[in-house]
């Protein structure tokens, strides 16, 4: 991925910035230009809470080349406490520990690197909430 492309997504990958429709309150991550619920065009930007729960999950054993060194790894669709759903790796967890409904939080991690000389792409990954 060219650096410019990952740079454009920093508000979402770094700060979980979502858009909330000022007309009907629908939340979008990443933000949209037109609300699919009410066709509104005004949104307020806010950083989502970093907590949610696993909606569904799987284990990737044959990844694309960029993630070959990470395999096997867990991927989940996480329903955030702010309502949106996103797809992310689940790390710092044994595979058998990951289950539907598992409370997770999103931590800042390396997502992938452009080899040893290219840019390092950072973003979010889910880790189980432990108290």
């Amino acid at each position: 991925m060219p650096p410019a492309r990952s740079w454009r997504s920093y508000p979402q990958t770094y700060r979980l910035e979502a858009g909330r429709c000022t007309s009907c309150g629908a939340v979008y991550f990443p933000p949209r230009l037109i609300c699919s619920q009410c066709k509104g065009r005004e949104f307020e930007t806010f950083s989502m809470k970093r907590t949610g729960k696993v909606l569904t999950h799987t284990v990737i054993r044959t990844p694309s080349a960029a993630f070959a060194g990470d395999a096997p790894f867990a991927v989940a669709i996480v329903e955030m406490d702010d309502g949106v759903r996103l797809t992310t790796q689940v790390v710092d967890a044994d595979f058998e520990e990951i289950r539907i409904g598992l409370p997770v939080k999103l931590e800042f991690r390396r997502v992938y690197s452009e080899g040893d000389a290219g840019v390092i792409n950072y973003g979010y990954k889910a880790v189980p909430v432990r108290s």
């Binding site: 920093y10 700060r15 060194g69 990470d70 800042f108 390092i120 432990r130």
Partner: protein, 351 residues
């Protein structure tokens, strides 16, 4: 105007490796290493963790305790000897991730293990000078020791972040005095493009660590007209378990003043994060009015010493983020040397 810490946060990777696990690979005697280093295990970062990711998590925890808008932070300094890039600031990514950009001064610091306290020192100074409202100093490392070297038993990973400010109602601890002591002492180094550092063996002790730390602490005690008995806690740089206890004894501090902030037996040496993480563990339990001494040490060689007094607000702020002892003692997972070698990129892969 009182200036001090208004927010602090720590982050430690979940994985650990025991001294026995490293020793058995190299045919070394684990009990003698454990005895010699007073160290049982150390933290190990994941493949997706580095100085930047650890710094971001520590900084987020510091913001939770400070309760401020990150855009009010006027400077961010990340001190480390394991910055992920040779050219590209770690601090810029940290600032972007916590929402402190764009009106923010930023630099990365290096001074072996005292790079973190340098960030704290400069952030404190800029707040005191009135140039910024709030300043953040972070110490973080994912340090490497050469396979089989004594350093491999201790080189660990972790981060601590501190937000400096002068709002009377936000202060968790005032910084009452600072002092830096620094000479050119070649006890530990890593040349450009070299993967592992080298060190001067026993030369790292008396003429380096002990002379520098005692020099800084004696000077700050004299400047402040205080005695070791005036402190509830003392935190020294902890490359192993023995050095902080021994230097404390040399200076007149008792073991009970040192143990709360001495995390190294189960954490390892987190380099730039070492004494700053010790300070976070002290702030997690200190009472208002307690006086704290912190003294870092960085090979090369220098020490930054701070005298702090804990304020009443510590009681309500400390539970807003995970406490350091919890990060250290709970939620941990042990790895064997093979996984450790993979995670620390010690295995040569096909091009």
């Amino acid at each position: 105007m009182a200036v001090g810490i208004i927010g602090y946060g720590a982050h430690i990777p979940r994985r650990r490796i025991k001294v026995e696990e490293i020793a058995k690979v190299w045919g070394a005697d684990a009990p003698s290493y454990k005895r010699g280093l007073e160290l049982r295990e150390k933290s190990v970062p994941g493949l997706d963790e580095d100085t930047i990711t650890l710094s971001v998590e520590a900084a987020r925890n510091a913001l939770l305790r400070a309760g401020i808008d990150a855009r009010e932070i006027g400077c961010i300094y990340v001190g480390s000897e394991s910055h992920p890039y040779a050219v590209k600031p770690s601090g810029a990514t940290v600032a972007e991730a916590i929402g402190a950009t764009p009106d923010c001064h930023c630099a990365d610091f290096e001074f072996a293990c005292k790079a973190g306290s340098e960030g704290m020192f400069v952030a404190h100074g800029l707040v005191k000078a009135g140039l910024v409202k709030y300043g953040m100093g972070i110490g973080a490392d994912t340090s490497q020791g050469a396979p089989g070297d004594a350093l491999e038993y201790s080189a660990a990973a972790g981060a601590a972040a501190f937000i400096m400010g002068s709002d009377e109602e936000r202060l968790l601890a005032t910084i009452d005095e600072t002092h830096s002591f620094m000479t050119d002492t070649p006890d530990f180094w890593r040349r450009e493009h070299q993967y592992y550092p080298m060190h001067g063996g026993r030369f790292t002790g008396e003429p380096a660590y002990f002379r520098t730390v005692t020099g800084a602490v004696k000077a700050i005690l004299e400047k402040s007209n205080l005695q070791p008995a005036d402190f509830k806690y003392a935190v020294f740089h902890q490359p192993n378990g023995k050095f902080p206890v021994r230097v404390g004894k040399m200076l007149g501090f008792q073991r009970e003043q040192i143990d709360t902030g001495r995390l190294v037996p189960t954490l390892g040496n987190t380099y730039s994060g070492s004494s700053p993480l010790g300070l976070t563990a002290v702030l997690d339990v200190a009472d208002p009015g307690d006086r704290v001494l912190m003294c870092s040490y960085g090979s090369g060689a220098g020490s930054d010493a701070f005298i702090l007094t804990v304020k009443e607000r510590i009681r309500e702020a400390r539970d807003r983020a995970p406490q350091t002892r919890w990060l250290l003692d709970e939620n941990i997972r042990y790895v064997e040397y093979g996984e450790y070698a993979k995670l620390r990129r010690k295995i040569r892969l096909a091009e």
